[in-house]
């Protein structure tokens, strides 16, 4: 208000001063600011999840039993005495991260290690939701995506093509051209994408689990994320045009098959061709 010149503000407010005018201005300003923030900030539409107090409490109970031993009683994270991390802080990781990690069974970790492998989920979907609500209540973070974001229903062929280009630029360096997975340093790995649920893929891109980098919605938009998932699913659904895919690992697997099957079979045939034929025991022909 100070920025308006005194004369201007006097002229504006001269004819309209009502008692509630000030209130209305403030309220609309608040709405405008809040609304803009809500639209532009990272999705925290999880507010409804975190707003369900009963769910959050249930989640807290489950958390204390199954997660706090590594992540701390208040999910603040635990550092070991020599400065390495035991379990990271979960403040601000968002419900999406919990839904991904717990939903794919990665958490709880069966044993400490460099990588959390995917395994059978320990918690039921309701329990997972409760845990997600609790963690979401700790601080704003990425929300569990709505189904429309990954149901692939509106992705057309152009979207799949575009998703493929994103996939080849951002994903294949770790996950390989067919999503068969790849090696990372020190015993870590990027897992295979085969059979992974679209929701899990979306959440992984959004939250960047473990060593996977984050791909925020502003840089790779939700639409493009859906395109990427559609592309990966299209690879799964398309027939293997040339025969068995040999794991889609590339030339190393092909070379192994060339030697084992190809040379193996051909040397086997060579041995057969050069072998002496069966000899009769009956003696020479009369």
């Amino acid at each position: 208000m100070r920025k308006l010149s005194a004369r201007l503000s006097a002229r504006l407010s001269a004819g309209r001063r009502r008692r509630v005018a000030g209130l209305v201005v403030v309220a609309s300003a608040l709405l405008l600011t809040g609304g803009t923030y809500a639209v532009l900030s990272p999705a925290t539409a999880q507010d409804d999840l975190a707003a369900d107090a009963a769910l959050v409490d249930r989640g807290r109970e489950l958390f204390l039993v199954g997660c706090s031993s590594c992540h701390g009683k208040n999910a603040e994270g635990i550092m070991t005495s020599d400065g390495t991390q035991y379990g990271p802080s979960l403040v601000g990781v968002g419900a999406a991260a919990v839904d991904f990690q717990v939903g794919t069974g990665r958490m709880p970790l069966a044993q400490p290690g460099v990588q959390a492998p995917k395994k059978d989920a320990l918690y039921t979907p309701e329990e997972t939701r409760a845990l997600a609500a609790y963690v979401a209540s700790l601080g704003p973070g990425p929300a569990i995506p709505e189904e429309t974001k990954y149901d692939l229903e509106e992705v057309d062929e152009e979207g799949i093509v575009r998703g493929g280009q994103f996939f080849l630029t951002n994903c294949t360096a770790c996950h390989n051209f067919a999503g068969a997975g790849g090696a990372l340093p020190e015993g870590k790995y990027a897992p295979s994408l085969s059979g992974v649920a679209p929701k899990a893929m979306y959440e992984a891109m959004l939250t960047g689990p473990q060593q996977m980098p984050v791909f925020s919605d502003q840089v790779i938009t939700p639409e493009d994320k859906e395109n990427v998932i559609a592309y990966v699913k299209s690879l799964e659904e398309e027939p293997s045009y040339g025969g068995f895919a040999l794991g889609s690992y590339g030339p190393v697997a092909e070379g192994m098959f060339a030697w084992l099957l190809g040379i193996g079979a051909l040397v086997g045939f060579a041995v057969w061709i050069g072998a002496n034929s069966v000899r009769s025991k009956k003696g020479t022909k009369a």
């Binding site: 068969a180 090696a183 990372l184 015993g187 050069g274």
Partner: protein, 576 residues
């Protein structure tokens, strides 16, 4: 002569010549084929499976020519860009080179196109693998010795050309994986001191990737190298025909003859049949196993890459060397020497190939063997040579594994960095260990052979002497087998004569000769020689004496009972 005494001549019965005979006569009238053919139609080829390994390579080459020509009818070797509008959904609308687009067209819009592509690629893999296996066989059996050293060199050149041809071939589709390989080749070129950047710019027609490399590789792949391959394969076969094939030693086989089956009909049927078998197996692989699915890689883009980027397996040695090499680079007076790329990428392959090519001459120099050899060596009878190849195979195997270290890590849950460290040590430690183990194994096999010759085979009959000691009864082995075991040369260690003559003048080259003598001793060290006639007779008389000692036994058993040719019914020794 009176008319009556002239016999009535019957019209001459002319046999109508067969159609084939007519055609053959027509050809011979113009080409004189019969002179050439007369010796070769019944030419004798020795029969052993290990002699067919080179044929796998030969027939694979034919398959490559046939399928390759098919592919050239649709492939456009151009890097000019087009927008893809073909059948593969996931790439529709993408801008890509014509080379890539036509490869997709062959794969998805030409019936049998994908099959031909896959047969072509599998066949290339088998071509080079077969050359390796064939070379190993030739090496293990000493078939590269005089007079076949030149054939070995021709073969080594064929292998090198084959590898280059394969690299050029799989780079043609201009897909992401092979483009990454070209990028690495560009880096290798740039690492050459002094001329590196010039070589790179000349090869690619400018900065990488340019638009010249695919058409140039096409010419190399379709014209230059196949022409060289054809010529060299022709020379290789010609030398083989002239020298005649080597053969295993054995009854009836000498250095002066060849024993086997005639070209027509047996060998023609076996070799011709093998062509169809090789083609058939390759076609089945093309039917059942996906190879080089370029549509999944996408067109080459310098900012894209896939995990698990490896070249085809035959480049794996160079790839492994590149991966395990530490990052050494020096700057001298404003110039950069990239040891980390130049040594493993350019120098090491050069050394390897040169050693391989020169090997027959090196061995001949060490052993001093100037004789012609047409009978093969059993690998065990040349322990140092066999051990050398096994050490080389170990080195190659380790480097291949190192080239796939990220796949080893992900398939077997290993630590990628540990694999690299392991390989850095193993490539120095592994081959000597393999060498030592193999040589001792060969020598122990030779000892086993010697035992068999001198003392015969074990019959399973244990005798107890009056003093209480046990011995096993042996019987002499089949004379043909005994001859096979002894049909080998005696080794002669190279000796240096006196260093100086009577006047004290040192013989020229004496230091070289000393080295040679030492190497020769190392070469033949601990080799078990075949027994002399005298030793053999001693062995036999020893056996006879033993038998005589047991003549008074209640149950004389000289061992023949259980050699499979005698009736043992009612035999008391085998009471149930």
């Amino acid at each position: 002569m009176s008319a009556a005494s002239v016999k009535k001549r019957e019209p001459a019965k002319v046999k109508k010549p067969s159609k084939i005979g007519g055609a053959a006569t027509w050809a011979d009238d113009r080409l004189g084929l019969a002179t050439v053919a007369k010796k070769n139609i019944r030419k004798v080829f020795p029969d052993h499976w290990s002699f067919m390994l080179g044929e796998i390579a030969l027939w694979s080459f034919v398959i490559l020519l046939l399928t390759g020509v098919f592919l050239t009818f649709w492939f456009t070797p151009s890097m000019g860009e087009v927008v893809y509008e073909g059948s593969y959904d996931q790439l529709r609308g993408i801008t890509m080179s014509e080379a890539y687009a036509t490869t997709l067209e062959i794969s998805f819009d030409v019936r049998g196109g994908l099959l031909m592509r896959q047969i072509h690629h599998w066949s290339a893999m088998l071509f080079i693998a077969a050359m390796f296996v064939h070379m190993m066989r030739v090496f293990f059996t000493g078939a590269f010795r005089k007079p076949r050293e030149l054939n070995w060199v021709v073969g080594g050149t064929l292998l090198m050309l084959g590898i280059l041809e394969g690299f050029a071939g799989y780079s043609l589709p201009d897909d992401l994986l092979s483009g990454t390989g070209l990028r690495i080749a560009d880096g290798l070129m740039k690492s050459i001191p002094v001329v590196g950047s010039y070589v790179s710019f000349f090869a690619f027609g400018g900065e990488f990737p340019g638009e010249a490399i695919i058409p140039r590789l096409f010419t190399v792949h379709v014209l230059l190298i196949p022409g060289l391959l054809l010529a060299l394969i022709g020379l290789h076969m010609l030398l083989l025909v002239y020298h005649k094939h080597t053969q295993w030693p054995g009854p009836g086989r000498t250095e002066k003859n060849v024993v086997g089956y005639p070209m027509m009909p047996v060998y023609a049927a076996k070799a011709g049949g093998f062509f169809f078998i090789v083609f058939g197996v390759t076609a089945l692989m093309g039917a059942l196993l996906t190879i080089n699915p370029v549509w999944l890689y996408g067109p080459y883009d310098p900012s894209k890459v896939t995990a698990g980027s490896q070249p085809d397996w035959y480049m794996g040695v160079a790839e492994g060397l590149l991966r395990i090499m530490p990052g050494w680079e020096t700057e001298l007076f404003g110039f950069t020497i990239s040891w980390n790329i130049f040594l493993p990428g350019v120098v090491a392959p050069g050394i390897i190939f040169t050693t391989v090519m020169l090997y027959p001459f090196i061995e001949a120099w060490i052993t001093g063997d100037k004789r012609e050899h047409h009978l093969l060596d059993r690998p065990r009878n040349a322990p140092t040579r066999t051990a050398f190849l096994v050490a080389a195979m170990t080195l190659f195997g380790l480097l291949w594994a190192a080239g796939g270290n990220d796949l080893l890590a992900i398939l077997f849950n290993l630590n990628l960095n540990y694999i690299t460290w392991f390989m850095r040590v193993a490539v120095f430690v592994g081959p000597p260990i393999a060498f030592i183990l193999t040589r001792r194994w060969c020598i122990s096999l030779q000892r086993q052979d010697e035992q068999q010759i001198l003392h015969g085979y074990e019959t399973g009959i244990i005798m107890r002497s009056p003093e209480g000691s046990y011995s096993e009864r042996h019987l002499p082995i089949d004379p043909a087998a005994a001859y096979y075991l002894t049909s080998r040369d005696r080794d002669e260690v190279f000796e240096v004569g006196s260093k100086a003559d009577g006047n004290g003048v040192v013989a020229p080259g004496s230091r070289k000769n000393k080295v040679r003598a030492r190497l020769s001793r190392f070469w033949f060290a601990d080799n078990v020689q075949k027994p002399t006639r005298q030793q053999l007779e001693e062995g036999h008389s020893h056996a006879d004496q033993e038998l005589a000692l047991h003549a008074a036994d209640a149950h004389p058993a000289d061992g023949h009972q259980y050699d499979g040719r005698h009736d043992v019914a009612g035999d008391e020794l085998r009471k149930e």
